[in-house]
């Protein structure tokens, strides 16, 4: 029972990172074009919307009393500390990104990320300093198993909201579960295997810090969204699903990821 609860908590924490947004990469392969067409035409079903809205309201309350105040406090830390933390977490995420680069056929990106990880972990002192960028190896998009499944043509399945950490789909949750079945080297060395160097708590702290770092970077954006939305739940659902499509397509260009039919019909000039 304890193990199941642990797995559940970890799944939730891993979900917070799925909304994270990074700069573009050029390592896409042809298979993505097929996915684009599938993604554009499909509409994701919001199964159990009433329950989802309830969980969303619960998450909002939790955010108000827990994550938001911590994120605000985190903002008071000097910028070098925040940047160093963010860099170290990004560096750690490479242990999931690299296998997914390979699974998606992005061999060039896999090579770049492996070099970045090696340089930043050693010269960059556990990833605190992004030394690799100094050598021209710029940061690429993060990849996860949910994105890989999407690239392989697996549809999203139902959209739903998890307690504590928010929006997801069946596909993205399945992807997260791969992390706990040996797909995440960081999880393997901290929790799965009993090593002398790391403890279970290292994994939980890293996940929690990643969540707080993400929340701190998006304080104003979330506030603005809350202020201007008439149905915040629907807005967040739309943003989450758009973000996942963009990440699976590995494209920051809206013209490649969106169906423009609706715009074409509207003629105001």
């Amino acid at each position: 029972m304890k193990k199941i609860l642990e797995l559940f908590i970890i799944t939730l924490f891993s979900q917070t990172l799925t909304l994270n947004v990074l700069a573009g990469s050029d390592g896409t392969i042809e298979i993505n074009n097929k996915v684009k067409k599938i993604e554009q035409s499909s509409e994701v079903k919001d199964c159990f919307e009433t329950v989802n809205r309830g969980i969303f309201a619960f998450n909002q309350g939790l955010d108000k009393i827990f994550f938001k105040p911590i994120a605000k406090g985190y903002r008071y830390l000097p910028k070098p500390i925040r940047s160093g933390t963010s860099n170290a977490l990004n560096n750690l995420s490479n242990v999931v990104t690299i296998p997914n680069n390979i699974l998606q056929g992005q061999f060039k990106d896999a090579g770049i990320n492996t070099l970045r990880f090696s340089i930043n972990t050693t010269l960059g002192i556990a990833g605190i300093f992004d030394v690799a960028s100094y050598y021209g190896l710029n940061k690429l998009d993060k990849e996860d198993y949910g994105q890989t499944l999407g690239t392989w043509g697996v549809k999203e399945g139902c959209y739903f909201v998890l307690p504590v950490l928010g929006p997801t789909t069946v596909r993205d949750t399945l992807g997260s579960l791969v992390n706990f079945s040996g797909g995440d080297a960081w999880y393997n060395v901290t929790i799965s295997n009993d090593t002398r160097y790391f403890q279970n708590s290292d994994y939980y702290y890293s996940r929690l810090t990643a969540g707080v770092d993400f929340r701190a970077k998006n304080l104003e954006a979330f506030e603005s969204l809350e202020k201007s939305s008439m149905d915040l739940y629907a807005s967040v659902r739309s943003l989450y699903l758009q973000d996942r499509i963009r990440k699976i397509n590995n494209s920051s260009e809206i013209t490649e990821t969106m169906n423009d039919d609706d715009w074409e019909e509207i003629d105001t000039q």
Partner: protein
Amino acid sequence: MKKSKILIFFFTIIFFSNSLSAKEPSKLIEEIVNEASIILSSSDPVESKIIKLNNIAENNVDIDGISMYTLGNYRKVLNEDEKIKYKKLFKSYFLKSFSSRLVDYSDPKITVVSSNKVNEKYTIVNTILEETSKNPEIKIDWRIYTKNPERPLIRDLIVEGLSLARTQKEEFKSIIQNNGGDINYLFKSLEEFIIK
């Protein structure tokens, strides 16, 4: 011979006058950003800033076009009176939402990076909102409607690949669907937001 020379001269004049009056979408964004920056960094009272920002939006954003887009398929079932009512409500909603979002920024620094002409009707202008001590660098793409090249209009803002118009459309769709498909609930929600 003389006649054809006159014709060539006439068409040359038309061609050049058209190219001179056509406004580059990237220039439009630069102008708007500069104008907004001056307003936001001024010491004017908030109410005055909001009025000025709304003027920029009214002149440069295709509010009617966005209003129809955000209605999705429901726009096909509206009668003319409902369309007029909706457009009016949407305009008030849009301006309130737009200015209340922007007025929180003291002096955003936005740089035009590139511009990509998608077709005769659209150009995407890529910009970057510079990093501040609080926020990371943010990519903002502007979808510009260029059917009339002399008066390009903004139709959408795409923040880090996420379209605001699409998000709005899905929000409206959700409101209508969750109220038995009755468009009047959307009107009611818009009215409530405007007077809030």
